[in-house]
Symmetry: C2
Amino acid sequence: MNGAEALVSTLLGQGVDTCFANPGTSEMHFLSALDNPAMKSVLCLFEGVATGAADGYFRMKESPAATLLHLGPGLANGLANIHNARRAGSGMVNVIGDHVTSHLKYDAPLTSDLEGLARPLSHWLRTTDGAHTLAHDALQAIEAARAGEIATLVLPGDASWGDAGQVPQFPRRQPERAAPPAERVDHVARMIRKADGPVLLVLADRACRGRGPELAGRIASATGCRIATQFFTNRIERGAGRVTLERIPYFVAAALEYLQPFRHIVTVETGEPIAFFAYPGLPSQLKHPEAQLHSLALPGEDGTMALEMLADALGARQAAVPWQERIETPVPQGAIDPTSIAHALAAAMPEHCILVDESLTSGRTSMALTCGALPHDTLQNMGGSIGFGTPVATGAAMASPGRRVFCLEGDGSMMYTLQSLWTHAREGLDVTTVVFANRKYKILEAEYANMGFGTPGPRAAEMMEIDRPTLDFVSLARGMGVPGVKVDTAEDFHAAMVRSCAESGPALIEVVM
Amino acid sequence: MNGAEALVSTLLGQGVDTCFANPGTSEMHFLSALDNPAMKSVLCLFEGVATGAADGYFRMKESPAATLLHLGPGLANGLANIHNARRAGSGMVNVIGDHVTSHLKYDAPLTSDLEGLARPLSHWLRTTDGAHTLAHDALQAIEAARAGEIATLVLPGDASWGDAGQVPQFPRRQPERAAPPAERVDHVARMIRKADGPVLLVLADRACRGRGPELAGRIASATGCRIATQFFTNRIERGAGRVTLERIPYFVAAALEYLQPFRHIVTVETGEPIAFFAYPGLPSQLKHPEAQLHSLALPGEDGTMALEMLADALGARQAAVPWQERIETPVPQGAIDPTSIAHALAAAMPEHCILVDESLTSGRTSMALTCGALPHDTLQNMGGSIGFGTPVATGAAMASPGRRVFCLEGDGSMMYTLQSLWTHAREGLDVTTVVFANRKYKILEAEYANMGFGTPGPRAAEMMEIDRPTLDFVSLARGMGVPGVKVDTAEDFHAAMVRSCAESGPALIEVVM
């Protein structure tokens, strides 16, 4: 067995059976080893698609996929979505082919400081010593990824083709998440009982799914506290029959206003609410200056267990759950605007669909108005790097056969990693990509005003407008094998979504604003 | 004057008047300062387009452009083409907006180790200390870029909006390139006179344009030595009325055969010929094992001056110049193949056009068969990272108004940074993008065989095939406002190229193989 085969065998033995790949010459041995019926290799036409797909895959599956990238520049193309994945706690095993060791000293054109490029965004990083150590290196990389870390394994060509000897079968170890210490829970319980004003519980990560929201809902019923998420969360289970969490707003003024009443904020698997950007004269910290923060569960700890302990301490285990009722939303008619978009979504979303939300300006209203839709999952961009949506939708769909994925994009964000559409078509993924085409970086117009500049001058304005020429997303989708349709009324938008769910495979809807 | 204005004023004062931009919130002050009629800001829909455009701009203009990128992930998206630019010796000033300094400690979603990401590929890197030092920092960045270096200036939001005070007007200093020491020239001259076998002169960088090839041609006439380039060169002036340089082949077997006769290799602004990748059982060094290397001019030295000194030392200043004669190529007919592609190109290329070559498999034959075309420039990918072509064509066209740019792409490579097409349309650039659609990563098939695997198994083969679904490049181009046409005969390919030159603005030709 050569090194590449030992690596693939270890991946498979550990249950890592999906590889999002954009291979090059230095990965030919790995490619040969991937020719294994147990491994699902998914070709991506750009590396940012591969790393974003690994993010979406982990969010839905809670276990990692591998990526295969080509040398330093191939990794570089994947870094922005690695940043987003890292912020989302999505583990992945990045296998980066490198030159043959003896070739490095000649500084061939594709040589770069590969470890230097990988280090800032990898939790775990190693250049394998050779074929004989690859299986052990792979095991460690997989275990790191399973715990939500970015693991980057650099694979020199000679390690791929060298003799790996006997490859051991390692046991699969699941990472354990620590429960919070009892004193911490007691402290929070005491504080909630004594507080004379409203208390906010902010949930994140795995506490936003499974039993987490239900437990938070019981605590809210018993104590009157409010329950919310940060503006961005990696995955929320929500909709009718679940417990709705409020959402701390994005813009600083709105967030300050939202948080103003709370003198106590309890965080579960997250930290203090912070502004996305800083603005002249506005604070970075969003809480009221006198508000106290109480960490019930740190990021990485078991927040659901923490909520269970807190519910016990508060005697809230039997309190009523504020189950979200089903809200039947009539199909909206007429003009496209944020409200009619949200209503069309709420009316069209099938049960257990997955909403990947990178719609920025146009999608801000959707969350509140879809809370009574059929139960669904929402995935949001934790890292803020644009180009997250369509790749994450790719991976989410790969991980969740039978579930329709709606990928909500702005026109600006859509253009970063649009190559995903080709993989949607190739793999027949049930992804409906919705592009809200307002033909500008509208978020930047707002941010320009937030900085105190008012209306931009003509040359600055041009840098935020993408209307010249007009992007035709139906044409772009057709070019990659995805059928598309353009709509400019709320009823047509709704109908197009419903139609896309009735057929298997991908579709694109351009919503002209 | 605030920091951002001081920065823009210093850029303009130093002649850096073009900025390839993909801005975000942290760059709003810089955007406001860019609202200056003397600065040409070019919006790019993906950062790899911006950095590749800066590469193409430098190659043609020999002076740097600026890029504007958004935080660590925005930089990350531009890194692959920064790698290519670095390898090509193309300087650029990357301005990377960062969070406001006081905001960094809150570890907001877009926070990353920005300097860590920039360091591996930047020659010059600094996070500015504040508004008051920005003009000096910018000057140093510009001077580094002018000398062909990657200069990365990190611009925290508060440095942008802080008070910069009086901004000095700095003088413009041109970098000087050293001439080689006389002893080195004498050594090479003596060797050439005494050599009993053929000698090869390998030219690179600026020695491949202006008087460099002519001087090399005189030396070749006088001494019988051969003159060539590496397989990849940043810019070659060639065609009828110039001196043709041979090209060392890409594939190792062919390169070994080509170099086999030479026992002496003289390098000018480059180093030893090295294999792009290493293969089992094949050497990395391409020269004959007994061949001696003689460096006439190191990279960065003045190779043209070195050739002048060598010509003097050899008494070759008056030797005949082997001017390339004009070869009138008849319009080819019928099937598309590498030869008919090259003939169609040779017949269609207008005087002083610019060929940006990322065609990989399909373009390998073009160089030999276009040597007698009308005089033109060829730009090749020095760094090997795919996605170089259309961005470099963008920058080359911005730097060279009135000259038609042909951008030759494979279908695989075209998909990496296809967002360039939109900027072509927006700026009305005279770029004809030619996509050779063989519907596979054909280069990888060859490399798979080179690794000794023969024909790939079905799953490995799938990772090299991009025919499912078929990419429709005419649709993709239309989606970004570029008119396109599909051709499948040599005469139609020729006619489409000629038509594209007759009209101003961009065009795309999909050549179905």
